[in-house]
């Protein structure tokens, strides 16, 4: 027999609850006539950078982070790939192609597929080159070191950093400020968010990173996820308050 502990049971309950709430949100979204929730401002910045890249004929850089095949990362860190897919589909025919950098082998391979897929979808595979998507280095520091010289070039329209990052990546933000390159940063890592908050970068705070809504892409998903997140936040808050009251009153040991 399996011996599920309390944490396992809680994890199963949360997963089932999320699936149930998502289904409920999808059903309600079809009937609802309410004004949609506002999307995180940071993703509007990506739209602006895409247009700037097209109009000025400059390169758009995309940093995908330390990836998700290492320790301590999860499937949620593939959000950067989702944004990359949309971005690439919009900038395929730009004068200067967008360049993606990953600091993880698995992520670099997946990103390669995404970038190539964007060119295939646009029926322009002859424009695709393998250096449009690169492994920056097999680790966080190597990733930073490789991205810095690329950022120092004169023909950059902006840098979008989305994925798993450490606070050390603030060095990239510093370089971007020196070179006047607009930077958009979104990461699930709270320490990295705090580090980037003191820079000029446009950042996604908290769980905004997991709600990408660029242009017209992912809007339905973003709305449904936001609603589910809000409901879960209310449930968690109520649960915490009830637990605190029970603990104070001596009901809970």
């Amino acid at each position: 027999m399996s011996n599920l502990n309390q944490t396992d049971i809680l994890a199963v309950v949360i997963i089932i609850l999320i699936i149930f709430l998502t289904l409920l949100a999808v059903i309600l979204a079809k009937r609802s006539t309410k004004k949609p929730l506002q999307t995180p401002q940071v993703f509007d910045g990506i739209d602006t950078l895409m247009h700037r890249s097209s109009e000025e004929g400059k390169t758009l850089l995309i940093g995908l982070g330390e990836g998700f095949t290492g320790l301590g990362t999860g499937l949620g860190d593939t959000t950067g790939l989702m944004v990359e897919k949309f971005l690439m589909s919009q900038v395929v025919f730009n004068d200067k192609p967008a360049h993606s950098y990953s600091a993880d082998g698995g992520l670099a391979c997946l990103s390669h597929m995404v970038v190539r897929g964007a060119y295939e979808d646009a029926m322009a595979t002859e424009l695709f080159r393998s250096d449009h998507n690169q492994l920056a280095g097999p680790g966080p520091f190597a990733g930073i070191a490789a991205l810095l010289p690329e950022l120092a070039r004169d023909d950059n329209a902006g840098l979008v950093m989305m994925g798993s990052y450490r606070p050390e990546s603030i060095l990239i933000a510093d370089m971007a400020e020196r070179k006047n390159v607009p930077l958009i940063f979104a990461s699930g890592s709270v320490p990295a968010q705090a580090a980037f908050f003191v820079t000029e970068a446009e950042i996604a705070l908290g769980e905004d990173y997991y709600l990408p809504d660029v242009g017209k892409s992912n809007q339905d998903y973003s709305q449904v996820s936001s609603k589910v997140l809000n409901w879960l936040r209310i449930l968690v808050a109520v649960g915490l308050v009830v637990a605190a009251v029970l603990k104070l009153s001596g009901v809970l040991p």
Partner: protein, 198 residues
Amino acid sequence: MVVIAAVSGILFLAALFFQPITSSYLNVVLNWAIVLTAITLLVAISNLVITHLRYIAVGRRGFLFSLVFIATFAATFVFGILRGSDDTQYLRWIKAIQLPLETALLGLLALVMMSAAIKIFRVRGWSILTVSFGLSALLFLFLNLGFFPIAQNSTLFVVVTALQKLPVVGARGLLIGAALGAVIAALRVLFGQVVENE
């Protein structure tokens, strides 16, 4: 393809909760994942080497960086193959290069973080968020230095202890939110919704 990936992911997730029964299955899948990860890294590194060789061949601006990269990569790779990755001499060489580099980078990082912290009000303006961010950063920096003899005054001790718990409370709140977001995003990938929506 998407169905296979989604079914595998869901089975793996379910297997995680029934560990004693599914341990052997999980170990096999984990080994596959490790092998696959190693191969992807190999593929990515090959691509990187080819790209930098191309940069050198066409004389792209800054190709000297590419030359340094290719030379150091070749030296590390050849010595690693010849002497083995566990060889103490080889590891000492690697450490002698890597440690000073990373230490220098961390030193630089401390300076950059300090200058960024000073610039925060110019960059983000004066708002409740920036003021509370700056004040709390300063306050907890001083409190955690341990210079103040707060233990001698019982009232002050209670107040400071309560204050010191605030960052933990805030971090927990943020982490719960981020974790919920991560689970929702992961479930979406797991159920193949990414492909369906785009």
